[in-house]
């Protein structure tokens, strides 16, 4: 018999109780992963989208409650172009709009003379022509809307012809619809307005230049934020609130799971006082007894964590498909899966420690007299 075998034998003595604890841990870890994944996804997705377009800095309104409420005049572009170190400026109008019958999609309006427009990767079709009122769908969005080149889709309740399918890599860009800036401005009744400016620098790796450009742009007018692509999400108060609430709920779920492990093992220790006394009488050290109970907690938590990682992966994948077509990125899923297991192990250790400590401190003679 091995250590692992002995621990499993102890856990299987009360299979129902162990199973319910395991389910509790799985649900907690699953919830944690979904919430942490959403929070992380929301934080990184915008940055990844901007990175893919090779934007180095983003200019938008400061202190936004939500991203799309940023309103800047398109004419600001000329001032930005004049800042030393700025190579390119691309204005963008963005909106989250109904797409098709039962989806929502991020819709971007780009100017045709912007480098991003010209460099847009197309899987098939062509770029919209001026005045055409057409749209380019990201691959995932096209799949979700069951549309292709030649189809007509409703974006913001306006019927638009699909002229191309884009082939971006990032999750957000794959689920995005792109239009000419003036078409989207007309659709949203926001002529001359943009949400943000994407900026390419002449020397993107030069930190000193980046900082100088940031300062120069920030000095142009009050109330604007000049951020790197990684910092975009931080400027959005809604995202920060969602992230904060998600983290709080996730922590509560984890605390409940840890208490559930503690409760199960505390009951197990209470039932097994005499047996623990026998082990101590046979020469088991406190450290061995501690390791036995801790090990049982870790097995419960790690198994539950594995289940929770799968549960969280499915949940996050389904949820991210509903919120943003394109689903969860594989690298994010792996990171979150590993995080889920690590969290589960921490839960197991936290929940098992007190009962294990109690068991290790039992005096053999007293434990042997226990009924």
């Amino acid at each position: 018999m091995t250590w692992l075998g002995f621990m499993l034998r102890n856990l299987l003595r009360r299979p129902g109780r162990s199973l319910f604890t395991l389910i509790g841990v799985a649900l907690a870890v699953g919830s944690f992963l979904v919430l942490a994944g959403l929070s992380r996804g929301l934080s990184t997705v915008a940055g990844a989208s901007l990175d893919e377009r090779s934007a180095h800095l983003v200019v938008m309104q400061r202190g936004l409650v939500e991203f799309f409420s940023s309103r800047l005049p398109e004419s600001f572009e000329a001032e930005l172009r004049a800042v030393p170190g700025v190579a390119r400026v691309a204005p963008e109008l963005g909106a989250f709009l109904p797409a098709g019958e039962d989806h929502h999609a991020l819709v971007g309006g780009w100017r045709t003379d912007s480098p991003f427009w010209r460099e847009m990767p197309l899987l098939r079709g062509r770029l919209p022509a001026p005045g055409e009122g057409a749209v380019v769908l990201g691959e995932s969005l096209a799949e979700a809307l069951q549309a292709d080149v030649g189809s007509t889709v409703k974006i913001g309740f306006a019927p638009l012809r699909v002229v191309a399918i884009s082939g971006f890599n990032s999750m957000l860009n794959r689920g995005m619809a792109l239009m000419m800036l003036e078409d989207l401005q007309a659709l949203l009744a926001r002529p001359g307005e943009v949400t943000l400016f994407q900026i390419r620098l002449t020397r993107p790796g030069d930190a000193a230049q980046t900082e100088a450009v940031r300062k120069a742009i920030a000095a142009l007018r009050p109330g604007i934020a000049v951020v790197t692509t990684d910092e975009v999400a931080r400027e959005n108060r809604t995202l920060r609130i969602v992230s904060g609430v998600s983290r709080a709920i996730a922590l509560i779920a984890l605390a409940i799971a840890a208490l559930s492990v503690l409760n199960t093992l505390a009951m197990a220790v209470e039932e097994r006082v005499r047996e623990i006394g026998i082990l101590a009488a046979l020469g088991w050290t406190r450290r061995q007894i501690l390791a036995l109970i801790l090990g049982e907690g870790l097995i419960l938590a790690a198994t539950g964590g594995l289940g929770g990682a799968l549960l969280g992966g499915f949940g996050l994948s389904a949820l991210s498909r509903v919120i943003v077509p394109g689903g969860l990125e594989a690298s994010t899923a792996l990171v979150l899966g590993a995080l889920g297991l690590a969290v589960a192990v921490a839960i197991g250790a936290a929940g098992a420690f007190y009962p294990a400590f109690r068991a290790a401190r039992l005096r053999p003679a007293a434990a042997l007299r226990h009924d």
Binding site: M1, L12, L279, A281, G283, W284, T285, Q288, L368
Partner: protein, 233 residues
Amino acid sequence: MAGTAPILALDGVSRSFDDGRIVGVDNVTLDIGRSEVAAVYGPSGSGKSTLLNLMAGLDVPTRGTVAYDGRIVPSAAGWTRLRGERIGIVFQDFNLLPTLTASENIEVAIFGRVSPAAERRRRAAARLAEVGLAHCAARLPRELSGGERRRVGIARALVNDPELLLADEPTANLDSASGAAVANLLLRLPETRRVSLVVVTHDASLLARCARRIRLIDGRVAEDMRTEGAIAA
């Protein structure tokens, strides 16, 4: 003094409970020699099991000292190490773990001291064979008779090759045939394994076969008598 000293030496040992209102053992001084067979007997409540617990380091004296192999054991951890490596205990209530087989109940006594698992299994099988239960290795305690359980308990106590074996009422709750078999098994050990044996017993036939008989009354040694050639396996 290690090696020539008595295996166990109690000096003025007392153990009381409930803030001194209950006296378990009162000022006991005695030595247990190497390969000696000693029986502790007396009426119920006379402190026999408490004395055995003190000899095994399972309990701590309120007063006095217990020396093992000439050295006072300074800590609970020291006693734990001794029980793991040099002392074997046979419990009155069998005290087998109910979810483990006979073999596993023996293996569990050398967890952390003997590895790998195959070696633990090999040693458990050897001890089971020694007590005549090789065929019972895979049986759970509930599938064993009282006598078999006791013998598994003895096999477990022997798996660490102890030099001192402490047995609490080893023939209690057994029919006369099983009791006699267990007594034979235990009383052979000092000769075959050079083990010192201390037996707490009510069993007159077992008592009669022990060379030294220590009578306890109210926690005190009322009589400590040695007889030549009392053991007959």
